[in-house]
Structure formats: C-alpha cells, structure tokens
Subunit: 432 residues, 4 copies
C-alpha cells in the first residue's frame, strides 16, 4: 500500500507558461521544498543563452515544475486505464519533477570538460543520503529506486518512461514553450492543449489520436526552429566556447601546479576526478560566477582574459568554417601561434547538430522511440509515414560548423600580420 | 557640436516585452557593452521575488534596455519640437539606459543595512573612472555631467527629466509590463502603445492628451495592483526579512571581532563604511549567494541558520500584526527570549506602504509631479480632477504590517511554552 | 430521476477566449443544434459597435457558448456540496447556454422602439412550441419551467440564479473577455482563472475567498473601463441613434398609411403590437440589413437618407451637450426646423450611464446583490467595505450626454444660417 | 505632380491583429469611407467557416485594412530607394486597401456557380462610376488605371505588384494572422515583425535577407497548417457544398420557369448572365441570408430543405472517398435515386487541394514568383534551395477528396435499403 497524503488545500504556483501549477499531494509539495530541488533555482535552464537573449534568465527550477504540471495534465486522462493506479500516478509525478535534479551549473560544458554525467548525480540524489530520498522513502521503501529507474528508462512500465523520455514527452513540451516565452521568440509555440487532448495510453507508450496529427507536426517544426534559432545561436555558442576554455585552462593550471591567488576549493574534487555528491551539490552558477570574477585577477594571462571575456561579455567573433578545410586550419593555427595568441584557447572550431525527429532504427546507438498515430480503426502508424512535413526532416541530421576567435586581438595586430590577413580574407568570403 | 555616429546597420535585441529593442547609435551600443552595464545581468530586477514567483528571475539589464526602448519610442514624436535637438535625443536615451546602473545586489535591503544609496553609485559610475564614463565623454566633455544631472532630477530641461522620473515615466511603464510578464500575473498589463501615442511634450513635462485618460487610469490601476499582488507579496518579504537579518548579523559579528571561517573580504569595506566604487562594482548577486552558501557552515548558529533558510527557502511564517499592539509585542519578545530564540533575528515586524498616485503637495518631503491631461482646447488639467477612479486612490497611502517568525522552531517547542501558546493563539485569530 | 445521456465522446468547440468549449452532455449538444439557438449566429453581440471597432463582428452565439463554458468550470468545484446534484448541474448549464436566446437583432434599440422585452421571448422560446423546448422536456417535464425561472431570477435555488445573474456572474465575465478580444482593446482582461479558483458556493450565492479580492477589483475595473471605452463609445452610439431613428421613421410611416415600395412584411406585427414568437424568431440582423438596404430607395427622403447613412456608415457627428441647457436646445431645434432639417430625426440627445458596482440598497428599483468576500475565519464581508478602489466607484452612477447631428448637412448650409452658426460655435467651445 | 493631402491629425483604427491601423493620407481615409469599401463589412472573410469555428465572423473589411497596414509598414523602409516616390507610395497603399474590393458574398461558391470573377468587379469598381473611382481620380487622372493594373499584376513596376501578389505578400500575411486570431487556432502565428524587418526591395521584387530564412520557413509552415486545419476543414466544406447546391437549385428552378413565392429579384441578373455593377454591389451576405431564410418556405422540397439545412446548420455528413472508386460511386448514385434522394443535390464529392509553396516553373498555367533570399554577399537564392523544410513541401500538391451526404435522411431509411447499407458499410471502413 502506497502512503499518500493529500494537502489540506491545493497549493498553486503562478507560472507564466501554464498559468498555474497545481499541487495536491504532500509528496510533491515536500519534494519541491527539499534543498536539492531548491538548488535548481541557481542553475539557468539555458546556460549561456541569456548572453544572446536577455530574457532567458529562467532556471531549471521553473522548467522542472512545468514538466510536472504537463505530466499531471496528461495522466488526468489515464484513470481507469487497466494497470494504472495511485502508485503509478505518484511515480509519474515525482519522476517528472525530479528528472533534471542532477543538473549542475552550465551543465553541458561542465560535464564535457570534467567527464561527468548529470544522470549519475540524478540517481545519487534520488538514492543517496539526501532530503529528496528521505521524502521519497516515506511513500514506500522501493519508491526511490523506481523513480531512478524511470529516469534511467529501465523501469518496466514503459508507458511511464515515455511520459518524460520520448520524442513527444513532457520535458520537450515544457522546454519549447518555456524557452520561447522567456526568450520572446514566437517559434516555440504550439497547441499543447490540443496535444494533451489527443494523447492516449497504448500498451507501452503514449500515442496520438490521428486527428491531432497537425498539432504534432507543428510541435516538431517548433522544435526544429528552436534548435536553430535559439539553442544553437552562434552568439550563445561563443560564450560557451569561452566557458569551456576557462574550465580547460583552470584544470590545466591546477594540474601544472600553478598557484592560484584565489584558491580553487570548490573545484578541486573535479580536477582530480573524485567528485562526491556533497561537493557536486555545492556547485551552482552563482559559485561559478564568483570564481570567474575572482579569476579575472589571476596572474595567468589566459585565465584572466577568458574570465574577463565571460563576465563582461567580450565574446569571440565567428564565421562559417568547414572542418574539411584542413590546410586553412593549419595555416591559421600557425599564424595565431606566431602572434603569441594561443590557438588552443583562441581558435576554436565548434559544431552543433540536431536530428529533429527520427523513426526507429534498430541497432543504432540511441534507439529512438518513434511517435505513433492512432487511427480511428485502431491501427497505429508511425508519424513520418503519415506526415510529409515530418517525413521531409525525419532522420536528417543537420550540422553547423563555426570557427570562433577574438576579433579584438586580431584587429590590434599590424596590417602585415599573416593572422590578420587570413582572418580578414576569410571574413570577406563569409567563411569557408 | 555633438559627436554622434550611427551604426552601420541597426542592431536589435529580442525582447519578450517590447518584441524588439532597436539600437541605431554607436553611443548606445557602446554603453551596453561596458562592464558596468553588463554587471546588471547579475542583479535581479525584483530581488527576492523569485522565491515567490518563480518566473521573476529577470535582471536589471533587461529592464534597463526596456526603459531605453520606451524613451526611444516616446521621443520619436518630439522631433521638430522647439528646443529639441540631437543632443537632447542622445541625452534622453543614455539617461534612460543608465538610470539604474548604480543598483547593487538585493538593492533595497542592502542599502538599508549599510546606509548606502544606489543613486550615489550611479553618479560615480557616470562621472568616475569607468568604461561608461569613457564612452559618454567621447560625445562631448560635459555629456557625463548632464546625464548625471538628468538622473538626479537637477537637469535644467525638466522635459527630459520627466521621461524617466515622473508618475508616468518610462521606468515605471517598463517595470510594470516586464514584471507582469515574468511573474505571469495579468495585472500589470496596460495599453502602452496607446499611452505613447497620446504623450505630448508641453513645456517642462510630458502631458497626456485627454482622449487617453482611460489608458492612464488603467496604468495607475495596474501599478496599484502590482504593488499589492507582487511587490509587497508577504512571502517575498519573508525572504527579504531573512536577507536583512543575515546582513545585520554578519555586520554585528564583524564588529564584535568574530573570526569568520569564510573570510568576508568582499564585505569588509561595507562594514567599515568606506566603500569605494571598485569594491561596490565587484558585488553582485552571485557573490552574495556564494557567501550565503559558505556561511551556512559558520559556527555562529544564527548566521548559519539564517543563511540556510535563505539558500534553501525555509522562510519565516507571517501574520497580520498592528504595531499599536505594544503589549502583545512585548509579551512575544520576552517569550521568544525565554525560549532562546533571539527576537532581534527571529521576531520581525515588517511594514510596506504605497502611494499609488499623488497630486502636487508643495513643501512635502518628496514633491511629486502630477500627471496632466491636455484638453482639446489646450487647457491642462491634473489627472485626479478628471478621473474619479484616480481621485479615489489619490494621495491615499496604504500600509500593511506583518509579523514574521520561524514557525518550524515554534512547532518544536513544548505545548506548555508561552511562546508557542501566544503564536498559536494569534494565528487562530488571523493576527491582530 | 433526471434523464441525462452522456455523449459517446466529448465534443469541443475551438474558442479564442476560453481556448476550448467542452460538451459532454447530449442535452447541451442538442440544445446547441436547435434552430432557435443557431439563430443567435445571425445577431451580433455588440450591435452597432462593429462600426467603431471593426473586429467586433462576433455573435451572441459565441457569447452564449462562452457563458456555458464558464458555468461548467465554476460548478466543477460544486460536486459534493450539500443539495447539489445532477439536476442542478444540468439546470445550470442549460440556463447559462440559453440565457440570451430571446435576443433579437440590435436588441436594445429594437426593444426600446417597439416596447418589447427580450426576456419575454427567452421565456417563450423555452416554454413554447420550439425545438429548444422539445430538447429540454426530454430531461424531465418540469425542466423547461425551471430553466425559465432561473433566467427570470425567480428560481428557488438562488445559488444557480447567481451564476448567471449577479455582479460577478458568468455572463459578465464572458462578455468582458470576449468583447475585449474581438475589439482588440486590452482593458477587458482580468484573471478569470484566478476568480474561478476562489469562487465558493455559500448558501444562496457564490462568494469569493478574500485572498482573491484583488482579482475581483481588477474585474470591476475592467468592467468600468469597457463601459466607457467600448460600450458607450460615441461613434457606436451615433450609429445606434440613426438605427433608432430609422425604426421610428418606418413605424411612423406605417402608421401614417405611407405606401412602401418595399413591403414591410417582416415588421408589420411589430408596428401593430401583436408580435408572435414565429415572427420574432424570423427577424435577425441579416433581415434588418436587407430592409435597410432596400429602403435606401424609398421615396420618403428621411427614411431613405437614414438608411443610406446606416448602410454606408455616414454617421452623425457629436458633441458634449448637457440637457440642462434648455435654451440652447430650443434655439437649435428651431434653427434646424427653419432649415428644413427635421430635428425629430436629425438633432438627437443621447445619454449613457453606468453603475460599475453597487452594494445592496433595499427598496430600490433593481436590488443588486452585492459581491461578498469570504474571510479565512468564515466571516462574509461586502466587497466595497474591503476594497477602497471598489468603494471609490461604488454606487456612483456616471452619465454622459451627447448631442448628435448630421455635420455634412450643416456644412452645406450658407454661412449666414443660424443653425450652422450655432453648431460651429458650440463645436468651438467643445460642446456645453 | 500627385495630389496628396495629409490628414490634419493621424487617424487610427483599433485592430486586434496589428494593434493599430494608422491612416495619415486623406486619400486612404476617403477610400475607407466609400460605400463600395464599407460594403465589405457585410461580407465575411472566411465564407462558411464560421459554422465550424464560431469566432470566424470577421469581414473582408477588417482584412483589407490589415493588408493596407502591412504594406504601409513594409514601404516605410523603401524611402530613398531609387525610383521610389510619393506616387508609388500612394499607389501601393491604395492597391493594398482595394485588392479585394470586388469580392461578393460567399465569393468562391458564388463565382463558381454563376461563372463570375471577383477580379472583374474589382476592376469595374476602380474604373467605373463609383465613389471609389471618384476618390482615386482626384489624385491624378491615370491613378485609377494604375491601381487596377497593380491588382491585375500587369503594372510595370513589379515591385509594387509583389507587395500584394506574391508567395509572401501582405495579403497572405494578414489573412493568416487574422484568420488564426479569429478562429482561435495557434497555427497561423508567425513573426511578422521579423519578416518586415528583413524585407528588401530588389529590382522587381521584395526579397528577404537570408538571416530571416527561419521566420519565412515558419510563415510557409503556418500557411500549410492553416490550409489543412482551417480553410479545408471538412465541416466548413459541408456548408459550402449545401450553399453551392442551393444556388444550383435556384438557378435551375428559375431556368425551368418555377414560380417563386419569394421573388428572386436580387438574383435575376445572375441567372441570365447579364450582371451589371449596380446589381452586383447590392448583393451581400445579409441579402443572401435573407433569401435563404425566405426560401425555406418555398414549395420546392429540395430548395426548401437545403435552405433549412444552411440556415439552421443541419449539415451533411462526410467520409473519405477517392474518386477513382467509380463503381462504388455509381452504386451509391443509383441507390440514392431509388430512395428518391436526388443524388445531384444530396451526394456530393468535394475536393480541396493546396500547393503550399512553389518555385518558378516557366510555361505553367500560373507562373509563381518564388521567394528569394538575399545572402550577405549580395547573391540571391531561391528559398527551397536553402531550406530543406520548404524544399520538402515545395511543389507538392496535396489533394483531399470527401463525399458529402445527408446522414439524417439515410438514418430514416429502412434497414433493408441499399443506400443505407452502402453508406453504413463505407462509414465502418472509414471511407474509401
């Protein structure tokens, strides 16, 4: 028997995207109150994007509430469905709320540099010695493990897994709407109310009544647009490049025995690869910004310069650059070195790519569960077979390569400098 | 002759409130790029409000751009107005952009505790040795001083002053719309496009064509609603109370010679009242949050507890409490002391009050410039004489008093505790 | 036992105001399908307002669906409330849907000229030999009578009455939001979702939890603004004046034995005061416009001119005119007569007045049920005692008087004409 | 020299889609006031769509204002462009306003049945003896002819033609946004402000700066979605089928010498193919609805039944039906005839098809001007070569076939009826 207590009176959060977020279960209320969940307030949803779209200052806290609310609305229709019970409901809501709880500051960059995976930390927060675990354990002793399994996609009831991990899940629906709202772009809009109305549980998955196909097309297109207009915006990527190089530099300096004016206590366990949950949870974006600001005054000129660039938004300029142009790349590399501009930090090729939708390709690295339409006659059809718009972009990975460099330093070079001549020439051609 | 350079191509910022913010002058572009202006990205527009309305994570950076954009739209109608020239235009735009540049982290609380005034720092940033000053000085040598005068309201052309400091200025219009957008409440909405259409320069002030009276009424009501629904929300004030008490405690400890585990370098000049501009500019909300997080581990139980409350949002509970109830206040104070709960930090009376609109009352502390309506016959009439809605709330200061205390500690007391009995009894009566 | 059948699958209408309107009961679906209800598609919600706000072309059909939807959402919270059962639910929904079913074309004007009352026709449609009555009777034999009583406010369960007839009912909430949406003005917006959340059934009335007071204030102010900005807009009233005069003229001509080129079949029963339900139901705004267009070619110059003005939007001009200025009125009247411009049709004083909110004043003509706030301690307080904004406008009737006249005809007069001189002089003074 | 007078003060119309529509030229103000333009108030923008989406009651009047406003905003950027002068500006604005002025009631159906073309009437209104022509002629004697040429796409300056007739013109942009707004669907939204910012005059066409490609993609997708979600909605088409059959029937009856109880004066010239402009202008949707209502009482059972269906929205049911299924079609036809249900009126195959975007295919019936992107290096590239989303739908005509029939009559047949059996069987299979 699951231990569930209802709140005396429903609580609501005012939310600009979903209007209100409704909480009726003590479990959910208590989870929101834990310090591990509150910590998400100090981690931005979109990393460095606020340096391009100044409205994008929203946190993972609000996104997590949003995902919870969408799941709450979806499963409102599941009552009475065979095998669906109170425990499944609480599992779905909790997993939705906690699916991102392990994210750290500037997650993607940080994880890449330090070879970490936020999903590990999500698992540790749910299963370890935390306030979150204490709240979950009160429901039932195996409740935390089940939540962890759902987020890891290994839980046996794939229907619940699909609510937060599929090509049309609550996670994606919330972030598209939310990121569109806070950046102010119109592309992320789609008719979520209609999509929620046509979602049906069907064996191990949520399927979409075929009458809702156009709403799903619109959702797929929104996602496609948001990737290219917002998530891969070259200016945000410029800030990300600098962030990455700061972390690389600081790690390199630490490993080289450089003596920091400002001690790197908060980062030491990351440098040496023995990160505990406690250290991880202490890190958030305010801590990172504190250090970046302090490191502006380090004697190391590269660390100091990069931190100054990040804090004061003196970003790198960029141009198209196809990595196949090896000769040009080597020439630039050498020219930068000759000018004393370390190309390891100041000449950066960055690539982004996205697969807007894909059908199932067995045996591939990440087997994507396709979206199925449910026809009036009960037949199930994979989306791209019904929609020619989706078919057109289905399985097509698009990649964008950009070269980043400090234009201000280049401009200061003498006009006979090879580095300057190469860059100016490439810019005139619009990159290569 | 004013030195103005136009950008080769107009730059735009995507803004959720005004759709786009348009920049055509190099001066404005360069000001936005200064590090003093970029620093506003690290200071939230609404202080602790994000702990109540999770969407309210927007910064003073975006508000400052918004005020600039509104002024830009207003003065688009001023061309050809006698005495209006290119210099007035640049002065208006720059002053709009910079009017809040001196704000520090959690401004209101911080200033109160350390007896500072952000307007002093605004002046220092504009006139001192800063990137902002360097950019402004390039226009004309006395340009920085004029900007400073406009913000200080001492500038001779009161028309320009009124654009950013009056009862219907660009500052208020932007923050109402912006705060409504990011919190998600609908109250702050009003028809700014209509108001901008009916604004007319008239001697030393912007006046409103009387056909736009209802739009102005709606704006005044929006302001009234936002104050009581958002700005004075008792939960945000609870966080503010805790913040205030943290700063009080840390100042007290420093003055008492307490030895901090975590050195208070960033704050020392504030404790000792000799704050320089450099120190001030280094402080932002990420620095504050860094310290609050570190201070959770201080041996001093009060500092550690208060920081834990702020970081993990374990706020104080509140009730109505009229400060005239001196006897009850003293009884509570004593009962808290008897339980070892220091009332100086854990029993806090907080009052908020607002004057939604006022006409001119000569000789008063702050002489407010009233809003004038311009009638078709050329006559000017003060708003509250024409609008009975505005008249109804005109000059009426409303005050709200609340008592804050840590309910969690009270609940842990034995049922015979006087403190507990007093609190429980007052709560039953809904406060006094 | 009430006969209720659920639809096999929920039906929805896409609605711009409430997003979707949900229908689950066969009864409601069948009522919407009746010809008496479909007829509301041919009657505009805002009469002549579309001649001022071109978006305001929406019909009473969409408003009626909206009122139904709001009531549906309100009573979703009433289940389990003592005395509330399936029959009350169906009664509330049906009464909401049908409350305006008796409206005729350009209702207010039409009723005034022909001394009719749309509420009589609502009753006849519900109780008479109609498709609506047939559908209602299938539920239970006394069901139509109960619906009629609810709309007439004589039904014993005043709680149901108050849902569609009170100072904060579903009717008003829908029309404010809808009229704001279709005109495009922002004034009518308020947070209906919040108001619905704080509505509670309380004995014979719906009351509002006091935590929702500001949302109600905002609603009252929206109503106030909509009245003066939209409903009483002087240009719409100009069209209404002409409409009224057309009907007066055609009635006068009919009574005088004038021989119409275009027979007035559709109107005859109205002229002679023996209107049957069948004739009434045949009239709608397309019929009216058909006749107005045809009457442009009548030999009677006044009828023909007025119809031309209405069809082609050649409206009367207006100015402020206080009816106390009897002398000026008589002078104008005489001057118009002297010029052969019949003042009975071409010099029209029109007054509008509104009472935005009122508390209960026993013994008055229309005893208004006030809005009550429900305090946490269970006490009920009348709104204007708690809200100073509402108090300010409470019980204050505001009246606006305007004088309408055909400026085009006046302009054609010789400059020595007294009529022209009087009008020009008054216009210079901005009216009197 | 062009005769242009500016209004003493700018006039505005409140518009829900563009917020305000601004008029500064007397010419435009006077055109709006003509009776031919005012007549557009009595013709719905979306024909029978209001019977599916109840909000879609907006008129061609508001759409025409919207197209004008968009063109006004686009050409705000054209000043100073070589060859662009005051006359081109007035031509563009007038053509935008008047491009639809020749539309009649339920245009598409009406034109098909009576072999008319609204563009003929547009030309006649502009060149003939009308108020519109009188206003236009005051500018310059050849001004009306130029306007007519622009709308007919034969005007020499193709840049002006492209503003209102291309694959991304002001007409399409307004109707997508407007129809989305009034129906309440979200699909029609796209970022028009961004598109207007990236439009550039380029020789004979407006081109799009390539940085705006994604906004254009979004616009193309909106159009695609609106066609299938709104414009081709099968329920609206059901009403259109009935409307078409009414007109066919009435024409047939007139030609057969049937004696109408209600004389068909307004239609006679249409029956006999000698339609003059005066007769045409008298027809509007209120006149049509007047007749449909009257014809419900005609003795002819088909006319009376069809009118009853249209007025009271008793529409035909539909199913998928591929016209290749000739055998089934003939069987149904015969079965209907056997039951005395005239298949010419009660068994209707209706097909809709759309081409969302196409590049230039020389020699084809309608040579479509493609959308060009302007690259930073000055190169012009056709949209579908740059955008894979657009490429995917480019030139692909999609067709939808539906069979319409009166389900109510079929249900009344005995269960042994072949017609009933055929229909029921097809419905079970979801159509063929």
């Amino acid at each position: 028997m699951v231990n569930n207590t209802k709140l005396h009176e429903e609580k609501v959060f005012k939310d600009p995207v979903h209007r209100y977020i409704h909480v009726r279960d003590s479990l959910i209320w208590d989870l929101i109150g834990t310090k591990e969940f509150q910590r998400l307030r100090r981690i931005r949803q979109l990393g460095t994007t606020y340096l391009t779209f100044h409205g994008a200052e929203h946190s993972r806290f609000s996104h997590s509430l949003g995902v919870y609310e969408i799941v709450r609305r979806i499963i409102g229709n599941f009552e009475g469905f065979p095998g669906w019970n109170e425990e499944e409901r609480l599992l779905s809501l909790s997993a939705a709320l906690l699916h991102d709880v392990g994210h750290g500051p500037f997650s993607h960059t940080f994880e890449k540099v330090f070879h970490l995976d936020h999903e590990d930390f999500t698992r540790q927060i749910i299963l370890g010695d935390t306030e979150v675990n204490a709240v979950l354990s009160k429901v039932k002793s195996d409740f935390p493990q089940k939540i962890s399994d759902i987020i890891a996609k290994t839980y046996e009831n794939k229907l619940i897994v699909s609510l937060i991990s599929s090509q049309i899940d609550a996670d994606r629906m919330d972030y598209l709407l939310r990121d569109a709202y806070f950046t102010g772009v119109s592309y992320g809009q789609f008719d979520i109310e209609r999509i929620l109305r046509v979602m049906r549980p069907w064996e191990e998955q949520v399927v979409i009544k075929s009458s809702g196909m156009h709403a799903v097309e619109d959702y797929i297109m929104s996602r496609y647009q948001m990737y290219w207009q917002v998530y891969f915006h070259p200016v945000s990527r410029s800030a990300e490049v600098i962030l990455r190089k700061i972390l690389h530099r600081v790690k390199f300096l630490a490993e080289s025995g450089y003596s920091f004016k400002k001690k790197t206590d908060a980062f030491n366990s990351f440098f040496y690869g023995n990160v505990g949950l406690r250290e991880y949870l202490k890190l958030d974006e305010s801590i990172m910004l504190y250090y970046f600001q302090a490191w502006q005054e380090e004697p190391d000129p590269i660390l100091s310069d990069l931190c100054n660039r990040f804090i004061n938004r003196k970003l790198f300029k960029y141009m198209e650059f196809n990595p196949m142009n090896v000769k040009e790349w080597l020439a630039l590399h050498e020219a930068f070195e000759n000018e004393g501009i370390d190309p390891d930090y100041y000449l950066v090729l960055d690539s982004s790519s996205d697969l807007p939708y894909d059908f199932y390709r067995p045996g591939e690295e990440e087997e994507r569960i396709p979206i199925y339409l449910l026809k009036p006659n009960g037949e199930r059809r994979e989306l791209s077979r019904e929609s020619e718009v989706v078919e057109a972009i289905s399985g097509k990975k698009r990649t964008d390569h950009k070269l980043y460099f400090p234009m201000d330093l280049i401009e200061d070079l003498s006009s006979t400098s090879t580095a300057k001549q190469l860059i100016v020439d490439l810019l005139k051609r619009g990159g290569i």
